[in-house]
């Protein structure tokens, strides 16, 4: 395998010694087939043990290694060096406070994810002995895309409405709510409306669409939100007129 030498410019932040984040460049000998995450791990193993970053599966299913690479939010394990020049800039994801180096504070995201009641709310609780829920392939297809989210937060880092109004519930959480609302086993749309139909819910979204552009799993949260707007708006109008809902 042939090697490349990459200049990896990483935004460092050590709260115990830095007043502000500062860039530090490492010279990294890389294999041709590496991803940016491999280069970061080389730095941590061989050059600078203090470099901090999250990662886990190395196969873009866990959502841990989201960084801003050359200005674009990406998963470190999905950013192949062959697609970049010899100088690569790596920063923590935007719109989240920096904890240390490439590690961001994601408490806000975790709270929002939980706030949309991301679990099945069935018509009636069935005991396990009553058997499984039945669902056709078509019914599964209706929500499957929105179940593919790996909570990597790339969408939040690129959403200007989240940047400017941090109370915005955000793309992933709203797409998740939509995933359950579209599930034929679920009747919880009304229960979720408090979050989804609030100002901070779908109505903060102005369909910039950046979230769907950067999503590594093609969840299309922007589409989910627009579809949720339709349903929410119809629900709102019908409730004004006094017709019941789900």
């Amino acid at each position: 395998m042939s090697k490349r030498t990459i200049q990896l410019e990483v935004l460092r932040y050590r709260p115990e010694q830095d007043k502000e984040p500062v860039f530090q460049t490492y010279t990294v000998p890389c294999e041709e087939e590496w991803v940016v995450l491999d280069a970061l791990n080389y730095v941590k193993d061989e050059i600078d043990r203090t470099l901090s970053f999250r990662w886990s599966c190395h196969m873009f299913v866990c959502g841990s290694c989201g960084y801003k690479i050359d200005g674009e939010p990406k998963l470190g394990c999905k950013a192949f060096l062959r697609d970049y020049g010899d100088h690569i800039r790596v920063e923590p994801l935007d719109n989240f406070p920096i904890e240390r180096d490439l590690v961001v504070v994601l408490d806000d995201f975790m709270e929002k994810l939980q706030s949309v009641k991301p679990y099945l709310i069935p018509k009636e609780e069935k005991p396990v002995s009553a058997g499984e829920y039945l669902q056709t392939p078509a019914q599964l297809k209706a929500f499957k895309q929105y179940s593919m989210c790996i909570n990597c937060m790339l969408c939040y880092s690129v959403c200007p409405q989240y940047a400017l109004a941090p109370e915005f519930i955000g793309p992933a959480a709203l797409a998740l709510a939509h995933r359950y609302n579209m599930d034929s086993r679920d009747v919880g749309r009304k229960a979720r409306e408090d979050m989804v139909a609030a100002h901070e819910g779908v109505w903060e979204c102005s369909f910039v669409g950046a979230c769907s552009q950067v999503c590594p799993k093609d969840v299309d949260p922007a589409g989910a939100i627009q579809q949720a707007k339709f349903t929410s708006a119809i629900d709102y109008v019908t409730s004004l007129v006094g017709i019941g809902g789900k």
Binding site: P15, G71, I98, A138, A163, S206, F207, G223, Q226
Partner: protein, 131 residues
């Protein structure tokens, strides 16, 4: 863990969209609304002129044919095209049509929109031409 001191990066409320091409594109089609609003005002004025009579109508037409308005109209036309293109592109995302286990391909939906656009525009042009 008193060593925690999370760093919050500031975002400009007025120039955030200059930081990336995708934001500039978004602002471009958002700003088309200014020209939509201006055109609606022009049309309302035109309706009043129409009701008033040939002289008022003549004034309205003269305004339209003045150099500054011609320039603005050409710019507005550009923005209306931008609006149409960005709107059509967004339709398959906002409205998924499921048929069995498949969704109707986005390109088909968008293509259908352009077909209707073309047909309607041709109809209006022919109508205007033979009036």
């Amino acid at each position: 863990m008193d060593a925690r001191k999370p760093y919050v990066r500031k975002v400009s409320k007025t120039s955030w969209f200059m930081t990336h091409a995708r934001y500039k594109t978004y602002m471009l089609h958002e700003v088309s609304s200014i020209f939509v609003a201006l055109y609606m005002v022009l049309l309302i004025w035109g309706l009043f002129a129409l009701a008033d009579g040939p002289q008022a109508w003549g004034n309205w037409m003269s305004f339209i044919e003045s150099p500054l308005v011609i320039l603005l109209s050409l710019i507005a036309f550009g923005f209306f095209v931008i609006h149409t293109m960005s709107w059509f592109k967004a339709v398959p995302q906002a409205m998924r049509i499921q048929k069995g286990e498949h969704f109707i391909p986005g390109n088909l939906i968008i293509g259908g929109h352009y077909a209707v656009l073309g047909g309607f525009s041709l109809f209006v042009l022919i109508l205007a031409g033979v009036a």
